[in-house]
C-alpha cells in the first residue's frame, strides 16, 4: 500500500519521526491539539533551546509528512496532530510482524485456561 499517496512508502513519515524535536512537537500536540506556532515554540523551549525559525522548519517537515495539518482560525494558523499516517504505518508494517505471534499467544492462553 502506498502509505502517503506520495509514492514513497512512508519514507517521509519515518524521516519526520526520526528527530527528537519533531517527536516532542507531536507530543505537545497530542497533549493539546490545535496550537499556534508561538504556543508550540513556548512548549519546545521548555525542553530545548530553539529559535522560532527552527521550530518552523521542523513543523514544515511534519506537515510534508502529513503528521501535522494546519487550519486557519480567524487570523491564527493552528496546528493539528494527524495520527492517520502513523496508523497507516502501523497497519502496513507493525501488524504484519506482530499479529501472528500475538494470536498464537492468545490461542495458547485460551487453551491453557480451558484446561484449568
Amino acid at each position: 500500500m502506498d502509505v502517503m499517496g506520495k509514492g514513497d512508502d512512508g519514507d517521509r513519515v519515518f524521516k519526520a519521526l526520526a528527530d527528537p524535536t519533531r517527536r516532542l512537537l507531536l507530543d505537545l500536540l497530542f497533549a493539546q491539539d490545535g496550537r499556534t506556532l508561538t504556543d508550540l515554540l513556548t512548549g519546545v523551549e521548555a525542553d530545548v533551546a530553539m529559535t522560532r525559525f527552527g521550530v518552523m522548519k521542523h513543523l514544515r517537515v511534519l506537515e510534508d509528512a502529513d503528521l501535522v495539518v494546519t487550519r486557519r482560525s480567524g487570523r491564527e494558523k493552528l496546528h493539528f496532530l494527524n495520527p492517520v499516517p502513523i496508523r497507516l504505518v502501523h497497519d502496513r508494517w507493525i501488524d504484519k510482524y506482530t499479529e501472528r505471534r500475538v494470536s498464537a499467544l492468545a490461542e495458547l492462553k485460551n487453551e491453557l485456561e480451558a484446561q484449568a
Partner: protein, 178 residues
C-alpha cells in the same frame, strides 16, 4: 508544558480533531464511500448510513452493523442532520453517537468531510470533527478506547477506508469492536 491561556479561540481549537488521508481514488468514489449504505457497511465500524435526502436540513442515521446488533446494540449508532452538501467536495453534518446513553448525552457535534482531487488520481480526504463539549467522544474517536474494544476511532476508520478503496478489501477489523 506551557501555560495555556484560556481564550475562546483556543478552547474551541482544542476540541476539534483533524484527520487527513490520501486515497488513490477519484473524489466521486470517496464521496460514495462515505454517503452510500453499501459502502459504509464495509469499513471501519460498519453499518449502513441512510440520508432522507442528501441536502441541507435533511436528517440521516447511521445504523449499527450486524456484528454490533448481535451484541444487543440498538439499531441506530449515529444520527444527525445534513448541514451543507457540495458533492463531491464537501459534506457537513451534525453528528451524535446515539447508541450509548452517556455518549448520546454529550449531544450533537459537527463533522466535516473535505475532498480535494490531487494529481495522480488521488483524493485528499480531510475529516474535521468539532467535538466541543463532548470529552468522551473525543477519547473514543482519537482511538483512546481501542484497548477496551471500542475501535481505533477516526485514524483506524480512515486507514480502513483507504485500504478498501485501494485494494478492494478492508483491514479485517484489526482495531475494531471485537
Amino acid at each position: 508544558m506551557s501555560t495555556m491561556t484560556s481564550t475562546d479561540a483556543q478552547t474551541a481549537a482544542t476540541t476539534t480533531q483533524v484527520y487527513r488521508v490520501y486515497i488513490k481514488a477519484e473524489p466521486e468514489r470517496v464521496w460514495a464511500a462515505i454517503t452510500s449504505p453499501e459502502w459504509t457497511d464495509r469499513y471501519g465500524y460498519g453499518g449502513r448510513i441512510e440520508f432522507d435526502r442528501l441536502e441541507a436540513g435533511s436528517p440521516y442515521r447511521h445504523y449499527t452493523s450486524e456484528a454490533m446488533r448481535a451484541m444487543n446494540a440498538p439499531d441506530v449508532a449515529i444520527d444527525g442532520e445534513v448541514v451543507e452538501v457540495d458533492e463531491p467536495r464537501k459534506l457537513v453534518m451534525t453528528w451524535r453517537m446515539a447508541m450509548d446513553d452517556g455518549l448520546a448525552a454529550e449531544g450533537f457535534t459537527t463533522l466535516t468531510y473535505e475532498l480535494e482531487p490531487r494529481p495522480g488520481g488521488l483524493t485528499r480526504l480531510t475529516v474535521v470533527h468539532d467535538l466541543t463539549g463532548a470529552p468522551r467522544l473525543q477519547l473514543l474517536l482519537s482511538g483512546g478506547m481501542e484497548d477496551e474494544g471500542a475501535g481505533g476511532g477516526w485514524a483506524w476508520v480512515l486507514s480502513d477506508l483507504k485500504s478498501l478503496l485501494e485494494s478492494g478489501s478492508s483491514l479485517g477489523g484489526g482495531g475494531g469492536p471485537q
